[in-house]
Amino acid sequence: MNISNLILPLIVLIIVSYAIYKKVDLLNVFIDGVKEGIEMSLQIFPTILAMLVAINVLLKSNLILDLTSLLNPIFNYLHFPSEILPLAILKPISGSTSLIVMNDLLKTYGAESYIGYLASIIQGSTDTTIYILSLYFASVGIKKTRYALKVGLLSDLITIIIAIIVVNLLLI
């Protein structure tokens, strides 16, 4: 049995049994939370629509793909594995697109190759920075985001560098 299939039911089990032991008015309290969920979803819907339109226009214009092939020689010179460049650039913007790119890399180079390992670690250890920042800040009406984007994107870069080192040391 897969352990990850156990986590979710176990959390639900703990929450519900502790509440019944503490004699909480379970169903009404749950429904209040659900109502809050509906409100919150409606509140973030405009942001999701806005971000999806902008992100997809950029993705479909092929600019990012063309840019990575243009940058290839530079990264080859720096001994940076340029095969993962599209993944590195797409990940901060779109989770679903970067998942497709990672799948292609695993298919092309093999799951247990250097590129395969690197793509897996990068996909698992970074998140959709630009999307998350926009969604979370917009949800509470923050306009001045100060140094958030700088730190977010810089950390993504650092994660990739650490991933290259760790894969070289541990997996190859």
Partner: protein
């Protein structure tokens, strides 16, 4: 900042597709992605409702309180500005826990609720606070113990031992988060003069 990113994506995307003749695809995409945002919210809505419902139960029963007391020394150490017994501590802990377990979908409702809670502590409602930025930096670093999605994709692509990346993945994401938190502090002190009070 978000305004500029949004405009930049759209303007650059449209101009570039005009140049390379991709404009028909982009034309369709503008309409399609507006429609696909409905799909996305329909997927997100039940998950949000389910988790906020369960979290409400955990809050009423006192479970969330117990959990946040356990986590509070670590979380309070990173988020010094948040008062000790504030609900944000419990929400941040829950969000990080869900991310660590690889339940990214469940982490989102806690994340949005955390932002709402941090906003109540914010003296300047249109400006991000230090704790908001620190929280988002931790979030985007994605501290994961079990990267479930990646493991299933490795399995699909013929990995003989799909979980062999777990250790490397843990080391990478913890090290990266640690460095990101240091960067977060450095940038905070560099820009402190401008936003002295928050």
């Amino acid at each position: 900042m978000v305004n500029y990113i949004w405009a930049f994506f759209i303007i650059i995307g449209i101009i570039y597709s005009l140049i390379n003749g991709n404009i028909t695809v982009v034309n369709n995409e503008i309409i399609n992605s507006a429609a696909s945002s409905i799909d996305m919210i329909l997927k997100l809505l039940p998950i949000m409702c389910l988790w906020l419902g369960l979290m409400n139960i955990a809050k009423e029963s006192g479970l969330l309180n117990i959990f946040s007391k356990k986590m509070s020394p670590i979380v309070s150490f990173i988020f010094k500005e948040i008062p000790k017994n504030h609900e944000a501590i419990g929400l941040i802990s829950s969000n990080i826990l869900m991310n660590m377990l690889g339940l990214g979908n469940a982490a989102t409702p806690f994340g949005l609720k955390t932002m709402k809670s941090l906003q109540t502590l914010n003296p300047n409602k249109d400006t991000a606070t230090r704790s908001m930025i620190t929280f988002l930096v931790i979030n985007t670093c994605s501290v994961t113990i079990i990267p479930t999605t990646v493991i299933s994709f490795r399995l699909l692509n013929g990995a003989t031992n799909p979980t062999d990346i777990v250790l490397a993945s843990i080391i990478t994401s913890f090290l990266a988060t640690f460095i990101a938190l240091i960067l977060d502090r450095i940038f905070y002190y560099l820009g402190r003069r401008k936003y002295e009070h928050i």
